[in-house]
Symmetry: C4
Subunit: 363 residues, 4 copies
């Protein structure tokens, strides 16, 4: 089987992963409308390609929060990499380092932060955080991550409760016994259930209701008090919230709808990116995840103002294919396709590290 484009990895993963694991990675909330819209929205964007520019030399490196990466694609935080490959997040960390890009490790990793760092010393990594009712647990995680050399703190803002992913409920999804949410072991007592959700008792490896649904913008200040790491907020979809994020002092925004796994029927991320970029007016860096399937999708996101994109499910497909090596294949294909689409669209490197946008129109 030739691995030519990302959908080849998707087909492989669908075929070889246990159904319960595939379903978990593939899941979207409710009717999966937003999950699918993330992809379809890219298809509705058209290039206006320019010809006869010298595209013989193109430098596709960029910097995110001051750190150079080899091309503007990082690894988005996703949970439970051991479901895809035995070495789990250790393989992810190694592949990201090998490709010289950024890996955002999830709170819901099946390896500890320490294991992740030991697997790929010196790699550029950010740590993704949920705020739990047990604030001490969150604080401890932040400080562990900072001590281990993580260079950014990504606060996920769109999960006060877990979205309803029907297949996971049908499958009775839970981690196999030999896997654990290792970073949070023993951190939680079982919380009292909210009466509202008695029929929707899904949870992913942690006690139900361990997450704190009362988090507000002021908790950014609390996080700021815990760490000197830059704070990136993930899950912003509107200009209004982007403005609030800037005002509360974050260093970066990831436009994200959690891969369509939380609120169904919100905007596709590439569509939301436009209004967020416009609202932010360059005050902080803006990234985007969701729906990236081709190198030209990366170019579109950059042309619309993203500094970098992050991939979620495609990284897992790469892991499922061949672990560290498979993920490198995925990244390399995206890199080549990005490079090629940039050349064919007539774009070129500009000294300050930005990309000039000649060439977009929405349908």
């Amino acid at each position: 089987m030739a691995m030519v484009c990302l959908s080849d990895f998707e087909a492989y993963a669908k075929k070889y992963l246990p159904k319960i694991a595939w379903d978990y990675f593939a899941a979207g909330a409710d009717d999966c409308t937003t999950r699918d819209e993330n992809i379809l929205a890219y298809r509705r964007i058209r290039f206006r390609p320019r010809m006869l520019r010298d595209v013989s030399m193109m430098d596709i490196r960029t910097k995110i929060l001051g750190s150079e990466i080899s091309f503007p694609v990082g690894i988005a935080p996703t949970g439970f990499h051991q479901l895809a490959w035995p070495d789990g997040e250790k393989s992810t960390a190694r592949a990201a380092r090998a490709m010289n890009t950024c890996y955002i490790a999830s709170t819901y990793s099946t390896c500890t932060l320490e294991e992740i760092c030991a697997a790929a010393p010196g790699g550029l990594r950010w740590f993704q955080l949920y705020i739990h009712r047990n604030r001490a647990a969150s604080q401890q995680l932040v400080q562990r991550a900072e001590a281990l050399g993580f260079q950014g703190l990504v606060l996920t803002a769109d999960l006060p409760y877990t979205g309803k992913r029907r297949d996971d409920v049908r499958n009775g999804f839970r981690l196999p016994p030999h896997m654990k949410v290792k970073n949070l072991e023993q951190a939680f007592e079982v919380c009292k259930m909210s009466p509202a959700f008695h029929s929707l008792r899904w949870h992913y490896g942690l006690p139900p209701n361990s997450l704190d649904p009362s988090v507000t913008w002021n908790d950014i200040y609390w996080l700021r008090s815990l760490t000197r790491l830059p704070i990136i907020i993930k899950g912003i979809l509107t200009a209004e919230d982007a403005e609030l994020a800037v005002r509360h002092g974050v260093q970066g925004i990831i436009v994200s709808n959690h891969g369509g796994r939380q609120l169904d029927e919100g905007p596709a991320t590439i569509d939301a990116l436009v209004e967020v970029v416009e609202a932010v007016r360059g005050r902080v860096e803006v990234y985007v995840d969701g729906g990236i399937r081709k190198g030209s999708d990366v170019l579109k996101a950059l042309a619309l103002g993203a500094k970098c994109v992050f991939i979620g499910r495609p990284a897992l497909w790469g892991l499922a294919y061949k672990g560290e090596e498979g993920l490198q294949d995925v990244l390399r294909i995206l890199q080549d396709e990005f490079h090629l689409s940039m050349a064919l669209a007539g774009k070129y490197f500009v000294c300050n590290g930005g990309y000039r946008c000649f060439c977009m129109q929405a349908l």
Copy 2:
């Protein structure tokens, strides 16, 4: 079979109900365009979700015409519940009371109003009325309903004649011998057929042409003279008719196209809601039915100005699954999904019992 979302109940009902009963419940007029549009129109509405709001406490109770219900979803009037479950409307009444919501009993019930009330004393119920050529029969029904403690009178305005539901004609639909339109037994003599409809002689348990196609807005005054119950008019789809309804003194409007069973190719109800709400300007309460399949649909309807929604076919699927218990399952799922989507959209309870709308845009 896990019952995770409303379409699971639909699949169950389709599989286990007799075809003639399934077809009757599922039927839409002509090409079923409007029946299907009711659902598709919800899919075209997108949330603009807001993040980092405290959604730990959400009170989803509301009041309709002064009566509190546990969440803004009631049971729309539909006929012949015994086709779905042996106990018929008695089960419906019990489930609605158990979930503390409102049940609109149909004239075309297979239980008498007295049986319905006896099955669930104290439940909040409205009575749905057609105006018959035999006005004495209609008057008697209204006064029976008022005497039995029904708290609202719902006048269906969109059925001067019955819509053409092809499958019912093909099936030669009629009630099984042991079921009757009990509330109207012996009330009607056979009326003289209108010459126009000789090839369309469908009717549903009553003599053809028992309904009065000459009803006009002035008949609201006649109804008003019969009862002190609030009058809710059901079947309004335009701003013009909404204005007329308010001027004729109704207390509530249900935006409805009869589940797409009457005139095909009119507007989807969620689309019509917008202009009705705008025309009414808060003078009376506005509700909507048709196409509600997920909790987030309820949130959309409320965000667009509905005070409450009513479900028709999903209630029948619940009955077909497990009678009273099945209908409670359906309501509970909608309630949980509504609650969850509200949290994920960043909405919260406001003291005056309303919901604030941050977050909608039509595609």
Copy 3:
């Protein structure tokens, strides 16, 4: 098999007609885009139904060019009715008279005009004409029709050459030996082929190139000189041509694209109707054919300004089902559905014979 709606007749005809005949009737030009658009365009038009109007009495009769018909649906000119039913156009004429409506007999009939008139004396009929290179043949046809009591002359304007209907070319369509274009027997010598169309040598029962592609608006004056019958021009699709038609003194316009059998990818007729009606400003009567499949389509056409509609393929399906009786079934269903949709849309009869339009919006 219950015949409930027009598509039942279509399914019957498709199943029981010889493939070559079905293909001929079903054919559209090229990719059949316009043929299908005629239908789809009706689906994009929505009613704005009004409630609580007295719809107990509705008079659906109308007049076309002064002659009363029982409801605003006539029979469009189509060729070769013997392909559908042995008695051919004689059955068509009888059914139209029985339903008290207008039948436009085609030049391409398989019965003579005399046979048609003898089959249903006293019926309201118009005669459809092509102008042939052999002008004497056309003149003779016009004068025969007038003498036989036809009450209108329909000039087809959209067939300077025959459209390319792929299936007819593949099938090598030609009339069976026992059928003839009887009205034109012996009228034509074989004309010299135009060099341009050597690979497209299809023709339908007449010598190739018998039609005159040099016809212009001035030929209306020639026709006028031949007859006192009102002239109706068929095939107009633009405001510009509608204006020219009025200026050249026609009495009526049929907005038509020949059922999508001539130029593919022109407008759907119901869409073109709007601009034609606006351009004509009531100076002559405007009719429409193409895509009528339900009674509510008739209502839409009338609401958008047509005085009457004409059906083509559905009439042939009726013939194929049961000859005269089958065509009456088709007409009766359309009549009932039209009546019903008018009632459900809240429309009513107005004394001057017109229909009031409350209720349309294009998507």
Copy 4:
């Protein structure tokens, strides 16, 4: 099998060509979105047909850069015709001459320019050029072409690198041993690979990286210095580049996206044509290729301002069917369909050789 329209030839070629050859001809870049959009965009354009014009005489000849052709359809440059038919480009040249139209011979021909010219002396031909890193090779080609009587030089501007055509990668496409890119034999040494594209090592019969990605608009001046032939630039998709082309002194522009084989998700060519024609304001001739499948597509392109269209894949299907004879069939069908659609749209020849456009609207 009746060959009635171009898709019949497509079906034939798909059935009888070796898969690797079919895939190569059919290939589009990435998801093939643009390849398919080229066709779909024509479907979104509607005629506004006019009636009763004298269409008995229509002269469909036109001139491109001063040379008369029998109708406004030429043969676009495509590679490797021997994959479709043993005689390869020799058959193409003969068919084009027989139909009195223009054939643009590709650099990637499997016959030499000399063989092509010897096969059909006196035919109207242009030569298509890529600019290679080995400029001497390009110069030599240009001068050979001029000496052989080619009458135009077509510079392809949209291929600084080859697009990613997944099926070719999967198939490991390469020419069979007995076929060669004959015009360039021995012209190239193997170039050093660009490090960026290490995983995308596809190439088509030439050493990788033989093309020069540093070409800019100034190289038009270099070409001008080599030859007195008119220069036509192929691959322009924006008004901005059209303006640059005119300013750099080209004689013609072919609006093209390389059949959707280079950058995916740029504009359909018929859509891009509109802005290019508007920008050019008649200063040079504008042509278009991509997506032509019916004679009415040609009419649309002309009505939107193209002087002539060129067909790529349909010509190959014709070759695959019956070589020279099959390609003539394809051209003759297009010619007849073009002629017919022009007649049915009410268009006519105007003395100055142009076509008047009464009749277009975009959806």
